[in-house]
């Protein structure tokens, strides 16, 4: 028997016990795909009734009225986008500047502690953000602008921006830190100041990563449920200013699921809204992933 053959046989026996384990490992890894498909299937199945009945009116209808069987989600979509953009307007500059400062300017011994505090900010539960919002931001907004109620789109945007900043900081911070040291040293060696190096070397390279972090922040903000439903005032209309109350898709689902009879039109319409939200976040997350990977190839 040749030694090659012997090798083959012995390795076959050695690997025999590994085989079932490998299958377990593969199934565990594939579970995420299976879960996502099941999620799409179940949410779409429950929402099918409302979609077949109302079609695009579920997205563009202006009225949500149980008595007259009207289920139009436009005010909710509008509210969601409004608070999300408001939050990003604050979170993008604060988050990106923080990421640059922490990964490029701050002395080394301060980087980990400050990153840790931002990480703590990310782990505070949304119900506590809502609680803090009610306790402090709502009364502040109401007295500052002289409003009857401080539960407005602005209030929600402010709290939501705090919840989005850690996502933007951690993702773009990671990308900025990954810029090769030699690139920066080359620029510094040519006489550039640290700021010029950041502007001409670090930022152009990490541009796509920063963009991706903003998209992930958008996905996080538009899906936020509990905090927003505690402080946004929850009124389904299309507000003309940030000082009016709004209702968002997730908070509308959270507050109406309990009373909707299983299998009813309302129940199905809520799942329909859920499906819209799920598809929005899928698209945003997939896009962010693609942007990061393409950026990595160029970098």
């Amino acid at each position: 028997m040749s030694s090659k053959k012997l090798n083959k046989i012995s390795s076959f026996f050695l690997n025999l016990k590994s085989q079932p384990m490998e299958i377990v490992l593969f199934v565990s890894a594939s579970l995420s795909i299976i879960i996502l498909f099941l999620m799409l299937f179940f949410v779409a199945r429950e929402g099918a009734l409302a979609f077949s009945r109302f079609g695009s009116d579920l997205l563009f209808g202006m009225q949500w009225n149980l008595e007259s069987d009207l289920f139009g989600g436009f005010p909710l979509l509008y509210g969601s986008l409004m608070v999300t953009f408001g939050a990003l307007l604050i979170a993008i500059p604060v988050g990106v500047c923080t990421a640059i400062f922490v990964s490029e300017v701050l002395p080394f011994y301060l980087r980990d502690p400050i990153k840790s505090i931002i990480e703590l900010l990310a782990s505070i539960p949304s119900v506590i953000y809502g609680f803090i919002g009610l306790l402090i931001v709502v009364p502040f907004i109401s007295s500052f602008f002289g409003l009857v109620s401080g539960q407005t789109a602005l209030t929600a945007s402010l709290i939501l921006s705090l919840m989005t900043i850690p996502t933007i900081v951690s993702v773009s911070g990671e990308i900025i830190s990954a810029v090769p040291k030699t690139y920066k040293e080359a620029a510094l060696g040519l006489g550039a100041t640290k700021w010029e190096t950041i502007k001409t070397v670090v930022l152009p390279i990490s541009k796509s990563g920063i963009l991706a972090s903003i998209m992930l922040g958008f996905g996080r903000a538009i899906g936020e449920t509990i905090a927003v439903s505690m402080i946004a005032g929850n009124q389904a209309h299309t507000p003309s200013s940030y000082l009016e109350a709004v209702y968002t898709i997730p908070s509308f689902i959270a507050t109406h699921m309990g009373e909707a009879a299983v299998g009813s039109l309302e129940y199905s319409a809520l799942f329909g809204l859920g499906l819209i939200l799920l598809i929005i976040t899928f698209m945003v997350n997939t896009l962010a992933d693609t942007v990061v990977k393409r950026g990595a190839q160029h970098g």
């Binding site: 923080t98 705090l162 997939t286």
Partner: protein
């Protein structure tokens, strides 16, 4: 204006947002601490039927421990596959993408899905079990990503030594790589717990009720939870926020302690793993 001065101005401008972030955290913590007077041993140990928070605290702990017990092993297995076994190909890329997407699904959708699949389709009803499975979906991506990183930094030579001694691939990984990666894996599970301990939207329809008689005696019974109770008291019952101060503080403590432990573990073991230097 010299470039030095210009640089200083730019850096100062960049530093302002950082200070905002730090202030925000301390401001939240300080606000919560103003309610520390509402906390006492009696509140922690009396039943909710008598105005305490005992069942909510234990319910919260039950929920995250069960979820971590489900998501932990699956997440570690998935991470081992992705680092050690996965071929560089289309399937691996799709799995990777799926994990990122799962991490980005809003918790309210996870809740809707958990309700239809676990509570209704599988017949678990509004129960601890349905809550475990639903929360496990949220922990899973965190454990996979954290464990992947922990496994990836273990030098190949550890595993190769075992392989050279005749161990199978799985045996070498489980005897060397996994042990070396254990601190990182534990950290990722703790981080996962920190993320779901205060989760509300995902357990809203799947496992919680506002009041129970004592603790659940089986996984098929509903539970009380701090986050759920805070939310329902305020939003559905219109209670003033001050009335849930005690619950908010306990929940904050639980979450911050878990996050801090994870952060400290990570820093500590990064220093202790000599192969990283």
């Amino acid at each position: 204006m010299g470039s030095q001065t210009k640089e200083r101005i730019f850096f100062f401008a960049l530093g302002v947002p950082v200070v905002i972030c730090l202030l925000a955290f301390f401001w939240i913590a300080a606000t919560l601490f103003t309610g520390v007077g509402t906390l006492n041993m009696e509140f922690l140990t009396t039943s909710a039927l008598q105005g305490g928070a005992f069942e909510m605290i234990v319910g919260t702990i039950y929920l995250f421990l069960g979820a971590a017990a489900i998501a932990g092993p699956i997440g570690v297995f998935a991470a081992i596959y992705l680092v050690e076994y996965a071929p560089h190909g289309k399937i691996t890329r799709i799995i990777d993408q799926a994990i990122n997407n799962l991490a980005g699904v809003p918790s309210i959708i996870i809740g809707l899905f958990g309700y239809t699949l676990f509570s209704r389709q599988l017949g678990f009803g509004i129960s601890l079990m349905a809550g475990w499975l639903t929360l496990a979906l949220m922990i899973l991506p965190i454990v996979i990503r954290g464990s992947e990183e922990a496994i990836r930094i273990v030098p190949q030579s550890f595993k190769q030594a075992a392989l050279a001694l005749g161990a199978t691939k799985w045996k070498s990984i489980s005897l060397t790589t996994l042990i070396a990666a254990a601190p990182g894996i534990v950290t990722s599970v703790i981080l996962g717990i920190a993320r779901v301990a205060g989760e509300t939207a995902a357990i809203l329809f799947t496992s919680c009720v506002i009041i129970t008689r004592g603790l659940p005696s089986s996984p098929l019974e509903p539970v009380m939870a701090l986050s759920f109770n805070m939310y329902v008291q305020i939003v559905a019952r219109g209670a003033p926020p001050e009335s849930v101060f005690g619950m908010a503080l306990i929940l904050f403590f639980i979450v911050v302690i878990f996050s801090l432990v994870a952060i400290i573990l990570r820093v500590y073991y990064r220093k202790k793993q000599p192969w990283l230097h």
